[in-house]
């Protein structure tokens, strides 16, 4: 063999690496590594094939979201107040739709933070309902002890009111009184059936009193779907969304 020296050297090196690969368990090591992060913004070119692919989905979605499903009599707002038009609409809609599935439900609880938008006066679209309730929360019914309902009342008092339906109360000096549930005075010795949604039932918003209910059962309906059905139902009956402030929570 008459290989020039430099090739021989290279060949040898390669051979060694081949042998090492054959014999060594970890023949490769990380010698260096680099990190980059790409910000994806308007400066990044777009692949039009991707846009073309999702465009039909977008158009169908847009058409679906823009569909008018009902009307409001007045704007549904949610100012910092014990009860609000949006809160009452939301809570009453849940009670109406929940009762269709489970007639034992006595009252409902949501939280102000869970209502993500207001409704304008006039046409209400699917998109409005998605904005109001973007989450996949599902309705659940909890059977609670009177003691846990008392804690729930304290929670509502501490929050200066939350969206409720089927329950009424007056608040003086951070104490609730004249509390009624389903039209009857609250009795700490009774049990009550609350409709809420899984996020709150599973401990969201620090509602410890909902953690260990006597019973829990699933309605198998998303809150958003219940709202959509509620509005569609009103429209079918020729009615508008007509939420009212009815003094269900009064702070003196």
């Amino acid at each position: 063999m008459n290989l020039p020296g430099k090739y021989l050297h290279k060949a040898f090196a390669l051979l060694c690496s081949v042998l090492l690969i054959a014999s060594c368990h970890h023949p490769l090591t990380v010698a260096t590594s680099n990190y980059k992060q790409y910000a994806i913004d308007a400066q990044t070119g777009a692949d039009s094939a991707f846009i073309n692919y999702y465009l039909p989905y977008k158009e169908k979605m847009q058409a679906e979201m823009d569909k008018v499903i009902g009307q409001t009599e007045q704007e549904l707002t949610k100012p910092a107040a014990p009860e609000t038009l949006m809160g009452n609409f939301f809570a009453d809609a849940l009670l109406t739709e929940g009762l269709k599935k489970d007639p034992s439900i006595q009252f409902t609880l949501s939280t102000k933070g869970g209502l993500r938008t207001t409704f304008p006066k006039g046409n209400i679209t699917v998109s409005h309902v998605f904005e109001l309730m973007p989450f996949e929360n599902e309705m659940v019914v909890l059977k609670l002890t009177g003691e846990n309902v008392r804690k729930l009342i304290d929670f509502i008092v501490n929050k200066d009111g939350e969206p409720i339906s089927g329950m009424r109360m007056k608040i003086r000096n951070k104490q609730a009184y004249d509390v009624t549930i389903a039209g009857q005075p609250f009795d700490v010795n009774k049990t009550y059936n609350l409709l809420t949604y899984d996020y709150l039932a599973d401990g969201g918003d620090d509602l410890e009193c909902l953690r260990n209910p006597l019973e829990r059962h699933e309605i198998n309906k998303k809150v958003r779907d219940a709202l959509l059905e509620n509005i569609t139902d009103l429209t079918r009956q020729g009615k508008k969304i007509n939420a009212q402030l009815d003094g269900r929570i009064v702070i003196e």
Partner: protein
């Protein structure tokens, strides 16, 4: 074992050309510089997390992220990198689902299809990937041509049994890359009805088991954990930081869940005093992370040595 790591033809070719190769075997190691260019393998890892159904860029509505993200741009960027790099691994750390009406209306079909078109190699599952229940996820699986990898959920007797991998070994050039996945505890985070009979097991113990399998038994030069545990917490809840320092044999943790915008990967020493990189790139496809690892064929019996020097190039377009 060499056939796993070196193309058979090139080896035969080499032996034929040199002829006297066998005679050279006794001469001892050669300096590193003598190794040819082919002795370096560059592995480019691209990653996203918590994309949350963000198909289009955020709308121009004055919000903080307006105009950012978008799959068409990400696809173009990835295609460009693929033109430049031979060995690319494209990974996602979960929460593909939920966040725009695209998910609510189409159930994740579009997300999986577009990820498939971009050539994702694997993803792990996030808690929001259960938002339409196990069956909602299973229904969309035919739209994904890449595997989902979760090691610490037991899917026995659920619809996902046999449909999620505990790990996967990828061959990139001569480098074997082992990928496993860790999911977050679902109880309290996901409606029980939506995750049904899935049993969560301790991610630390499972990570050690998986990483040891990939490193020691399957001979991976690089072990990556796709994690949806979250970057860090105020309390002692298990996180990527805790994971990194409580395990062995992991090189890189690509994280998600906490939507953390990290400017550079964090380096954390593991139980063996070896560095682990932890990275996460925010959410919604606003950023694409890129890690380039250069593997050198060794010239001695020395084992894995990782001297890692992150180069900070944040915000590159």
């Amino acid at each position: 074992m060499e056939e796993l790591l070196l193309n058979k033809n090139s080896r035969r070719d080499f032996l034929r050309k040199t002829g006297a190769a066998a005679a050279l075997m006794t001469l001892g190691p050669v300096p590193f510089a003598a190794l040819g260019k082919d002795a370096v393998v560059q592995l480019t890892i691209l990653h996203t997390n918590d994309v949350h159904s963000r198909i289009e860029p955020f709308p121009m509505d004055g919000s903080r992220n307006q105009g950012l993200g978008g799959v068409a741009r990400r696809a173009a960027l990835i295609a460009k990198i693929r033109q430049e790099q031979k060995h690319v691994l494209l990974l996602d750390a979960g929460d593909v689902f939920q966040g725009t009406p695209y998910f609510n209306l189409y159930g994740g079909e579009l997300e999986f299809t577009l990820m498939s078109k971009m050539g994702y190699d694997a993803a792990t599952m996030g808690n929001h990937d259960f938002d339409n229940g196990i069956s909602g996820f299973v229904k969309q699986l035919p739209h994904a041509n890449f595997p989902f990898i979760v090691s610490n959920y037991n899917f026995d007797n659920t619809e996902l049994q046999g449909k999620v991998l505990p790990y996967k070994v990828f061959k990139k050039g001569s480098v074997k890359v082992g990928v496993f996945g860790l999911g977050i505890e679902l109880a309290g985070l996901v409606n029980k009805k939506n995750y049904g009979g899935i049993v969560y097991t301790d991610p630390i113990a499972k990570a050690n088991e998986m990483a040891s399998l990939l490193r020691n038994e399957l001979g991976c030069e690089m072990v990556i954990c796709l994690s949806h545990l979250g970057y860090k917490y105020k309390d002692d809840k298990v996180s990527d930081q805790v994971l990194a320092r409580s395990t062995r044999n992991i090189d890189l943790i690509i994280g998600g869940h906490t939507h953390t915008f990290m400017k550079v990967p964090e380096e954390i020493m593991n139980l063996d005093g070896k560095p682990v990189h932890v990275n996460q790139v925010g959410f919604a496809g606003i950023n694409l992370g890129r890690l380039d690892y250069f593997f050198h064929k060794e010239t001695g019996k020395k084992k894995m040595v990782a001297s890692v020097c992150p180069v900070n190039e944040y915000g590159m377009v």
